[in-house]
Point group: C2
Chain length 357, copies 2
């Protein structure tokens, strides 16, 4: 029995509905296992811009710093798309990553037998897929300076900078090896070492770190090849580690293996403070507020929180098992329903998972 | 009847065999249609490093400059993988792109009925796919300065630079619109405008260029979403235009739609001089010299050359039709063979296509 403070940042669009669902599930766990969860709510993204004039208000950061873990919904929407860079919802997300040192983004992609038909890929290709993308989250093109526009000799230019310090690479690669050690003991480090200097340094450091993990196999793969191999034979992968932008692209691609973006959770681990948990899907403004969104990705993110931040494996298992059971029983939100299947609402899905726990 | 000079750069690995095959096919066209093709051979990549000490010798560049079009095989191999950056086969490829101003890389991805079973994707997802990726090829992270390693305050760092001039973006987007005009009249411009300054400039310029093409629809898509959509519903795309690195990743991913990397040709158009044609596959050192490689991608690249550089559409059609016919007749090299199908060698495939023309 423990007591934990959870910062909840619903954000925009369906972020509100799916975090509400996940909080319900956490309350069920609280009761059933006799823990105490204290929820503190904060604004982020478009909602924060509207109410506080900034995508990441200080109050929100303060709540996060005082928490044991953070649960985030999603940010963004057409309303703010034409805003200047510093007043965009995404800026709130990038800032919280940087401010809270959320350097390691973990995105597990797992094959669900009951959802196989939703995948655009053939059964024999995706069967048994169980991979984990470990994406560097606080460096690279996302944060490197200079980043801006300029005019030189009458020519307009724009520049972004892909910068990595050795230590930044070392800690993310190390995290990947540690995770692989508890899995199938294979790390695929993805880079573009035939073109980029930063990738050549990445590769060297990966080799260095590998020395400390003689029980784990390291392989290197070029990012273009990785984009291909993820579709061609995803079963070959265990842990994939890569830099920020490559990770952004490859993890969204990999999410399609299961055919159900609405199913995929993620964890962003901090160097020291609380970690952040969020679904990998976006704010889906087109269906927001309609009680249609799939809450499972956020609920599974809450399960990751229990396991990784609080060490509550049994509780996490209980959630994950309940999700599998309701899926096996045929419950489907619209995004994962096949022709002829009955479609349930966000609330119905949440209630069913609660009842099953 | 015309007279054309073709620079042939076989490169490394299977590059040699597949260009030999394509030259055979071009000779067949020469005879059948009464043209005159003059072939000049040049070294590039590892072969050039071994014989001339540099991946792109001046002689090779001279041959290219004097040609009407360039046919390239592939470069690279484990033999040169540990070489310093300037002595790597890929450097020859990057240099020839830059030196010959090959700014627009065209990668068509087309569904072949007879090859459907080779794709990892379901039939209903890929049926009728016919898209064209237009990748910027001489800018961005591949060529921006600074690019290097340094130590600052005792910290080791590596940096690469994503730089674009306005004019570079304008000409590639324009090329994409011109190509779309002859197709399904839709351009999807792929960027990461929610994070990168260069992408925000890219998006603005795309909007500007679109004004000149009122008959063509422009849509913007974030690169992570594009990586997903390419698998989820590739039929939505006509022409995709994007910067160098995103194009590298997405086009390799898209190649998997057909399940047959060995089938895909490409053209790299120059601002003024001769254009370059090459298969998108690599040098496949593991099967080099074994008469096993699929020559079709290079043969189709030669067809693109006839059409785009020489305006010989009928001749290009003849090659493309012959390829379709031999495939429909069941001929397969190892890479595209399904269980139970007879596998033919590189030479057999070339001879059959020749006979069919
Ligand atoms: C919203 C955007 C800035 C973000 C990113 O690019 O990191 C998102 O795509 C993600 O993957 O979390
Ligand atoms: C070999 C390599 C430098 C090259 C690239 O990244 O452009 C290749 O992947 C390609 O796509 O032509």
């Amino acid at each position: 029995m423990g007591s934990y403070r959870i910062a909840v940042l619903p954000g925009d669009g369906i972020g509100k509905e799916v975090t509400r669902g996940a909080v319900e599930i956490l309350k069920t766990i609280e009761t059933r296992f006799g823990h105490q969860f204290e929820f503190e709510f904060g604004l982020i993204g478009g909602a924060a811009i509207d109410q506080k004039g900034t995508p990441l208000p200080d109050e929100t950061l303060a709540i996060c710093h005082e928490s044991d873990a953070i649960l985030l919904g999603a940010v963004g929407g057409p309303k703010w798309d034409r805003n200047p860079a510093h007043l965009r919802p995404e800026k709130g997300l990038l800032q919280i990553r940087k401010e809270m040192n959320l350097f390691a983004n973990l995105r597990p992609v797992k094959f669900y037998d009951s959802l196989m038909d939703s995948s655009p890929l053939k059964k024999e290709v995706i069967q048994g897929v169980d991979l984990l993308i470990v994406r560097e989250l606080t460096g690279g093109l996302y944060f490197g300076k200079p980043s801006g526009r300029m005019v030189e000799n009458g020519e307009e230019k724009a520049v972004d900078t892909l910068l990595y310090k050795k230590e930044e690479i070392k800690r993310i690669v190390k995290a990947a090896f540690e995770l692989a050690r508890k899995r199938k003991k294979k790390v695929t480090s993805v880079d573009k070492a035939n073109v980029l200097e930063s990738s050549r340094m990445w590769r060297e450091i990966a080799e260095e770190v590998a020395q400390e993990f003689p029980d784990v196999t390291l392989e290197h793969m070029l990012v273009d090849n990785a984009a291909m191999q993820l579709i061609r034979s995803p079963q070959q992968f265990d842990v994939i580690v890569t830099e920020n932008m490559f990770g952004d692209i490859l993890s969204d691609e990999a999410s399609m293996l299961t055919g159900s973006l609405g199913m995929l959770p993620s964890a962003s681990l901090s160097t020291s403070g609380p970690s952040l948990y969020e679904p990998i899907h976006g704010s889906a403004p087109d269906i927001a507020g309609q009680n249609k969104a799939n809450p499972i990705a956020t609920i599974l993110s809450a399960a990751m929180m229990l396991r990784l931040s609080f060490g509550l494996s049994e509780e996490a298992d209980a959630i994950e098992k309940a999700v599998q059971q309701v899926l096996a029983a045929g419950l489907r939100t619209a995004d994962i329903a096949q022709k002829g299947q009955r479609v349930v609402s966000t609330d119905e899905m949440v209630n069913e998972i609660k009842a099953t726990i």
